[in-house]
Symmetry: C2
Subunit: 195 residues, 2 copies
């Protein structure tokens, strides 16, 4: 075990300096038969591609109320979000969305249809949100959540939401709730969320 | 420039041995407030998360024929595929699909609706295919393509396709073509493609 306190650890930044395979300092070149700059190891030949990440979450509904979680972590500490997080290796988008919901709120859900698929190129992410029925509304938030609560559509804290994709997914949900027709919404958000 | 021939370079494997930030040998532990094993640097504190990748492509159609490309690269060298490849940083899924189509076949397209979103957890990937109209059928395949050609639905080389997601996307396309109703198909493929 590490002698360091938990605050010592942090996600590795996108900028790469050393080869993960042999530890040699990397060069930034366009490899043969490629058309963009990559981090390349001239010792072992490893090309270190980097690609966008998927964020997976749900719109969890219980008796016409929506479950939101208040973030206990940065970015957007203290802001409200739908349960969501980074998709992990070995799982599907739906499995990841269910896992994040359980981790962040403690509630178990029955996954519904895919509701929003949102490109966020400036964040190098794609966000997926599924509709979901809450099976048991007992809340047990995990360490990434300050509190979790159910909100009627008219009580959604619009001015205290964490991210643009959360806001737009909730907007689509409220609009579709009025017609009862929940389609798939696929779009791009091209600017950072203010605040 | 490197003195090595192009065959020297290869994608860095998923297995990580050294920290990309400081070059120290990594440990594999469950970090504080986490619940799975990660590659962690005990020198600088960087946690090296790994996540699934997105593959983005299209079903390019010209006068009721579908454009397929025969792969000049491994895996599945010599097999037929829809134009597709890994999503790059800074682009949307649709932009990536258009870029891959141009790179692999030379044709320009008008992107249509999102058609299949396929989880492939054993490959640690999510595949996206869009419908697309070919604007000009002049072919100019890039270095990753042996040849490109247009196929009528009845002439699709079903036994020589590269991947399960290619086959199932083409199956959905042929089926939907008969009704004229092209919905979004979202599903999971849980076993490797034979052959």
């Amino acid at each position: 075990m590490s002698p360091h306190p938990p605050s010592f650890y942090h996600p590795a930044p996108r900028t790469l300096s050393f080869c993960s395979q042999c530890g040699t300092r990397l060069n930034r070149i366009i490899p043969p038969d490629d058309n963009r700059m990559r981090d390349v190891c001239e010792n072992c030949g490893a090309v270190h591609y980097q690609n966008p990440l998927n964020v997976v979450g749900v719109v969890p509904v219980w008796e016409n109320k929506i479950l939101l979680c208040r973030r206990a972590i940065e970015p957007r500490h203290g802001k409200w979000t739908l349960p969501a997080g980074f998709m992990e290796l070995g799982e599907s988008t739906g499995q990841g969305a269910m896992r994040e919901t359980l981790e962040e709120s403690g509630v178990s859900i029955r996954l519904g249809s895919l509701f929003t698929v949102i490109n966020v190129p400036h964040a190098e992410q794609v966000h997926f949100f599924y509709l979901a029925d809450v099976l048991d509304p007992a809340l047990d938030p995990g360490p990434e959540t300050l509190e979790a609560a159910f909100f009627s559509p008219e009580d959604i804290p619009w001015e205290k939401l964490a991210f643009h994709t959360i806001r737009s997914t909730l907007e689509h949900f409220v609009a579709d709730s009025k017609t009862g027709a929940f389609g798939l919404h696929h779009y791009e958000i091209s600017a950072p969320y203010p605040g």
